[in-house]
Symmetry: C2
Subunit: 345 residues, 2 copies
């Protein structure tokens, strides 16, 4: 049995879901892959830091999570004061980077991942920042170090998008893409349609169930969708793109009347992401569109999402995820870890 | 540059599309994967057999295909008289098995693949027979030989289903599935809805464009869908299942009136495949269902197809393929070859 030591930087909802998922899957992974995945460190900015070279007792960790307590006092050794020193010191094969995203610079996640790869660790992240601000550099560094830089959970939670392209579609050229990639706005549009709510009412509902943030503008104005488009175009279409390069229009101006009129035409308003080549230039945009019923996007409701790829050898290929949860994102991280460390089957 | 020699047994539409695709992609594959894929042999039952250890000139082969001539006279050496001797003699790293399917026994494809693996070749097939009649045996043999037995093109043409599960979804348990997996019946139901055709008229249309066979009963009575369900359950759900074990009801009894009435309810008749666990038993069936508009199946029209997987860690995951062509199936074979021979990235 091979031991795989994992260190986490950041420990919010996704980190906690990751611990729960690992506790549930640990035995299965031992049996199927002969891998013993352990958590040897967790660093947070305000809730303490812990390093346990022999691996943490996940049950103790789950109890702490359950009680809402921080990580202080868990560490048998003195712990570094900042995340950078933590990454230098923690004994781990894989760094899981799950700090909050910074759209403009990708920091500090970018530095965290660079440091981990330089130390010879695999780096796995749910953070879109380092992908749009450092993909080429980090990918080259990973290759040089013989390590993996994977980020499945950055788009469509844990649904396999990047790994599908990387592992299951050899020789394919992605020539264009479209999708519904922001769950919050899709839930809002669904509520406006099915419950006749105004935008503000639908936002309040999305906030009440923990989907929308206190300041929902990152979702509503299309920033989250734009950064996902930038990540997809950069990685799948091989064309480096910044979120600022994505034409962006949010859903703020849509009224219940707009929604209603579209329904009368047998259509639905959706916040649609698109990227395609036009006269040798790449066009990328996020904007509301009235989608017709024959489109795969039409039946994507609530927090579900869909990505359609146009390729040079397959008919159009769509991946759709229904009813994701924080555990779905956690699964993306676990899949990245397994894909990084297991041999090709 | 590593040379990969490929031998084909069977040379119908898919084989011809494979040669066209390889000619188009050969240079790209050399550059991206440092692999030189060559065809060193083709065996057919009635159209000749050829062995060229140094690799065939694909242009000469394409010209022959274009002219509709057979393979006789192409071989610089005397050629074996039967496919079994061909597989024993042909100098190849990979066997591509694309003979017509035999639903009851899986032969002769099963024997072809067994012989190829025993000789130390990778085996790749678009033939569902060996999957439902020999998966466990062939998989074990492949593992023992350190070779691959891949069959992406058996379900949903070349769309990544088995490779997705194998390469991109580590640690996932598939607990159930549903889908539209037979293009011919879906096209027939689409024509009945959109053109008001009777079943017979829609069948005639599907035959006229080369989608339905002269005897369409394999599609219409649900056999093709049932064998696909058996393959998916066997491989993805780890539960060996024969096509005969799938409850099966075709679309023969559906009338234009049925289709019309469903539309009035906002629904559509689809030939739906399902597999799930119920009280510890696996239930698998193929039957027409009236699908509601919120289902991912609803907007799958014409020859498009969709597979939805229920798993233990992801929300429901669907893969949809729109507008496949024979080249799509050929791509599945090429992807299998590349996945068999390239190292994990």
């Amino acid at each position: 049995m091979r031991t795989v030591s994992v260190a986490l930087v950041g420990f919010g909802n996704v980190g906690k879901a990751f611990v729960r998922l690992l506790a549930r899957k640990q035995e299965d992974i031992r049996q199927r892959y002969d891998l013993d995945i352990r958590i040897t460190g967790i660093a947070t900015r305000r809730h303490g830091t812990v390093i346990t070279p022999e691996g943490m007792d996940l049950q103790v960790l789950l109890d702490r999570i359950q009680r809402g307590s921080d990580l202080n006092g868990l560490s048998p050794y003195p712990v570094p004061e900042d995340t950078f020193t933590f990454i230098q010191k923690v004994p781990a094969d894989v760094l899981v980077e799950i700090t909050p995203v910074n759209y403009e610079t990708g920091e500090p996640a970018l530095t965290h991942i660079r440091m981990a790869l330089q130390r010879g660790m695999h780096a796995v992240t749910a953070n879109k920042g380092p992908v749009v601000h450092g993909y080429q550099e980090l990918q080259a560094l990973a290759r040089e170090q013989g390590r993996a830089f994977f980020f499945e959970s950055t788009v469509m939670d844990g649904a396999p998008i990047f790994s599908l392209f990387r592992e299951a579609l050899p020789g394919v050229k992605v020539t264009g893409l479209e999708g519904i990639l922001n769950s919050t706005t899709n839930l809002i549009l669904t509520r406006m349609e099915t419950h006749g709510e105004s935008l503000d009412e639908a936002v309040a509902y999305a906030q009440s169930i923990g989907i929308a943030e206190t300041d929902p503008s990152g979702d509503i104005d299309g920033w989250d969708a734009a950064i996902k488009v930038a990540a997809l175009v950069t990685v799948l279409m091989g064309h480096p793109l910044k979120p600022q390069d994505v034409q962006r229009e949010g859903i703020r101006h849509l009224t219940p009347e707009d929604i209603h009129r579209a329904r009368e035409e047998g259509r639905r308003w959706k916040l649609v992401c698109r990227a395609y080549w036009e006269n040798g230039s790449l066009v990328a945009r996020v904007a509301p569109e009235k989608v017709a019923s024959h489109s795969p996007l039409y039946s994507v409701m609530g927090t579900s999402s869909l990505l359609r790829l146009e390729t040079d050898v397959l008919g159009d290929l769509s991946i759709r995820e229904d009813d994701p949860s924080p555990e779905t994102t956690a699964y993306g991280l676990l899949a990245d870890i397994l894909n990084a460390v297991r041999a090709r089957t």
